[in-house]
């Protein structure tokens, strides 16, 4: 890819290409559309000319109109997903396309910024995906509040909010499962009896929890939480027969903290979801009340701006509530406690090896800090005593000290 391409020309060329390609794609035969998966290079500038050959036909629109809403939605998501599997994927992984470039070629901040742009563009498109049917509904059946409410409460809108806040709760919890399982397996070295049984349990439950995360993300954290508590209890029962009881106890605490974290995370997220849904409901209500509202809504850009502004205001209000602050504090405390227990476990694992662990280093840092402080005080007193007998310096010193607060 040419690095010095004029950005404006590049932009216009790509914009035109994308419009033409998408129009072409929408007019393909269904069968042709299916075979479209292969030549994803149509999304690249050089491959663009193949778009019509690949997609061909002109009855795809008719097919789309006949399809069920669910199918349409799936197709749409497949489009987006397919795009994500092709050129968006290397873009979203920190400049994967730059792998052949010298590492210092692109500053990290440029890479990070592009990732942020990419993230926001996904939110923008997700909201568009939500807004188009919403807009249509408002035009066709503005008084169908039940339908509007179902749209607001839909998973699709929840997905928009998740992207806006960059929540990855299922992924995060899945990571916890994996790490916890790995940990318990590792624990087997020290407490074989307890670890073996727990590792088996965790392994067996992993697939079930993963499935729950995928199909019912709302309930997955609670399921995971209860599983962790169950494991923790069983681990506690094994403590007495363990070769290293403190290690098993720390492991039990870790599982408990994971559970606490999962609960806190769900509670925190739920507040954000609820606020987002209420905000959208109010925004739509206000629009329906206003004679010109629907016309304003015709512009997606205008809707996006109103949506951002309304949410910003609503979340500012939420953030000041006792309920939110309590949830946020619970989440932050459970996060750091989880971290602390993990650190403690690491030390327990390492204490039999000839390495310096963190708490030992901390003790050293503390001692050094205290020595530096003492030295500073000593120097201050020593210097003051040395200067006092000398002429002007003493005079200055005296004057300076006179202005120093009594308690200083």
């Amino acid at each position: 890819m040419a690095h010095n391409t004029n950005s404006a020309d590049f932009y216009e060329e790509w914009r035109a290409n994308q419009i033409e390609f998408l129009h072409s794609w929408l007019n393909t035969e269904p069968a042709a559309a299916t075979s479209r998966q292969e030549p994803l290079s149509v999304f690249t500038p050089s491959g663009y000319s193949n778009a019509r050959d690949v997609t061909g036909g002109s009855s795809h629109m008719q097919h789309m109109q006949n399809a069920t809403p669910m199918n349409q939605l799936l197709i749409l998501y497949n489009v987006w997903k397919t795009m994500g599997q092709s050129w968006m994927s290397p873009l979203s992984t920190p400049f994967g396309a730059f792998s052949a470039e010298p590492p210092q070629h692109t500053p990290k901040i440029a890479q990070d910024t592009f990732n942020n742009l990419f993230s926001v563009s996904r939110t923008y498109i997700s909201l568009l995906d939500f807004w188009l049917p919403l807009y249509k509904t408002l035009k066709v059946q503005p008084n169908n509040r039940e339908l509007l409410q179902s749209l607001i409460s839909s998973e699709r809108y929840r997905a928009v909010l998740e992207q806006a806040f960059e929540f990855l709760s299922p992924a995060v919890l899945e990571q916890f499962i994996t790490h916890t399982k790995n940990f318990v397996v590792a624990l087997g070295g020290a407490t074989p009896q307890a670890a073996e049984r727990l590792a088996m349990l965790l392994t067996a439950s992993t697939e079930a929890v993963k499935a729950a995360l995928a199909s019912a993300p709302d309930h997955a954290p609670a399921l995971y939480s209860s599983l962790m508590v169950n494991f923790a209890q069983q681990l506690g029962e094994s403590t007495a027969q363990s070769q290293k009881p403190q290690l098993v106890e720390a492991a039990r605490q870790l599982l408990q903290k994971v559970s606490d974290y999962a609960s806190a995370f769900v509670q925190y997220q739920q507040l954000l979801y609820n606020t987002g849904q209420h905000t959208l409901a109010k925004l739509l209500h206000d629009m329906l009340e206003s004679p010109t509202a629907l016309q304003e809504l015709e512009s997606y850009e205008a809707f996006f701006k109103q949506w951002v502004a309304a949410n910003e205001q609503a979340y500012q209000t939420l953030f000041r509530t006792d309920e939110f602050i309590a949830a946020q504090n619970t989440l932050s405390v459970s996060t750091v406690q989880l971290y602390a227990v993990f650190q403690r476990l690491m030390e327990l694992f390492l204490e039999d090896y000839p390495v310096v662990v963190r708490s030992q280093m901390d003790a050293l840092y503390k001692a050094v800090g205290e020595l530096k402080r003492d030295l500073r005080e000593y120097e201050r007193e020593h210097t003051a005593a040395a200067i006092l007998p000398t002429g002007r310096a003493a005079s200055n010193k005296k004057s300076a000290r006179a202005k120093t607060p009594k308690n200083a």
Partner: protein, 437 residues
């Protein structure tokens, strides 16, 4: 009662309006590709480019001395030490040549020093608020006193750095010619700013006990949540910058600063949150630093308190009350329109802030200058200077340089000002001190 049938009859897909969908998706796709291409053309995001020398170091701390601008006559003799916050990097004040409070200061003829705290590491877990104030700021003040001959310098504190400067001024008022806190939290009893509200109930003990040194990512998560949807708006707008190279670079410089947040020394953060945010001890006169107590009644030096009218991070209700509590007879309150960041990089602030500060300082330069000249006429007698292993804070250090120098009066003098030989560790750092940055 509506039925599912009627609901299903309604269009519910993006394809109900394919032209619109195509338009938006294509536009967004093209913008992303444009941004991708534009980012590839970015080879460097330069920040903090005003010419400067490192003149003193203490651990991770560096003290910069900015070189005067050619042809600019030094209008204020008293050195100015800029103390930045611990939570971000100080190059915000020199973000780019045309958005630089530092360059604006230099253009006004000020002699400018600035502290760069560096990045905290695990070794800083037990670094206290007193270490930052009495130790690090004290060391910098001492170095400037020794090398310039001035027994008092002016402090310009930025945001949290203003709080640190104010505390220093309460403990060591004899070192401070004038105090200029900018966007500085002093009265923490307010709940106007969201961070103030959140910090009141923050369990900082749990956080510091767990992390030791609190990672930047943890703190940034909090900062970014203050305005979560503004982030969307910001990046959506930034997608249009791909064909405007200059604006894109400006945007990247700001991004660089926003996400360049050092981790926080645990004990300092613990005291800052508990004693200031939660207990408002500075205003109450009960803030304890080592064996000393900071009280605003000791602020007897001239005070110029600068605040931003629309500051959502440090609201005016946290900054303005300083002028009520300070004991000084010479107090000025200056409002600059803009927000917490705009006060430093906004176009209007670029025109207004530095000239007003310089003008204010000019009228408070005489006494310090006279003292310096008198001291330079006095033969150096200090026998204790060479005993210093580390720069010592407070007025206890000798004010007379070992080798009397001609005071800086012209740009050329300033430019070639030799750094006074400094003893102990300072001496060892003096070689590095001239390293060009």
């Amino acid at each position: 009662m509506k039925t599912h049938q009627s609901s299903n009859a309604l269009p519910t897909s993006i394809f109900d309006n394919p032209d619109l969908a195509v338009e938006h998706i294509a536009t967004m796709t093209a913008k992303l590709f444009g941004s991708y291409a534009a980012m590839q053309s970015v080879h460097d995001v330069e920040v903090g480019t005003a010419p400067k020398d490192v003149v003193y170091e203490d651990g991770k701390l560096k003290l910069y001395h900015f070189r005067p601008q050619p042809g600019v006559r030094q209008s204020v003799q008293t050195p100015v030490l800029v103390v930045y916050a611990l939570v971000n990097r100080p190059y915000m004040l020199d973000l780019q040549p045309d958005r630089s409070m530092i360059r604006n200061f230099l253009a006004q003829g000020l002699d400018v020093y600035m502290i760069d705290w560096g990045y905290s590491t695990k070794a800083d877990r037990f670094t206290t608020l007193d270490d930052y104030v009495s130790g690090y700021i004290g060391g910098c003040v001492r170095h400037i006193q020794r090398t310039t001959g001035f027994d008092k310098i002016s402090l310009v504190g930025i945001c949290q750095g203003g709080t640190l400067s104010t505390i220093y001024s309460t403990l060591y008022p004899e070192d401070v010619n004038a105090l200029i806190p900018i966007a500085t939290p002093i009265d923490f009893s307010t709940n106007e700013g969201l961070l103030f509200h959140w910090a009141k109930s923050l369990d900082v003990d749990a956080i510091v006990d767990a992390f030791g040194v609190v990672p930047d990512t943890f703190l940034n998560a909090g900062f970014l949540m203050v305005k979560p949807f503004a982030r969307l708006e910001k990046y959506a707008a930034a997608l249009d910058l791909h064909d405007e190279s200059e604006k894109l670079h400006n945007f990247l410089r700001m991004e660089q600063w926003i996400f360049d947040s050092p981790a926080q020394a645990g004990e300092c953060l613990r005291q800052f949150v508990k004693d200031l945010y939660q207990e408002n001890r500075l205003v109450k006169g009960t803030l304890q630093l080592g064996k000393r107590t900071a009280t605003l009644k000791n602020l007897t030096m001239p005070l110029l308190n600068v605040y931003a009218s629309n500051d959502h991070i440090v609201p005016p209700s946290a900054t303005v009350p300083l002028n009520e509590y300070a004991a000084s007879d010479d107090k000025t309150l200056l409002e600059i329109s803009g927000g917490h960041i705009g006060i430093f990089v906004g176009a209007k602030a670029q025109r207004e802030l530095a000239p007003k500060i310089a003008e204010w300082l000019k009228h408070r330069d005489g006494a310090a200058k006279a003292r310096q000249q008198a001291r330079l006429r006095t033969p150096a007698k200090s026998s204790s200077d060479h005993n210093h292993q580390t720069p010592s804070p407070s007025a206890a250090a000798p004010k007379t340089p070992k080798t009397p120098k001609t005071p800086k009066t012209t740009p050329s003098n300033s430019q070639t000002l030799p750094h006074a030989p400094v003893s102990g560790r300072s001496s060892s750092t003096s070689k590095r001190a001239r390293a060009r940055v």
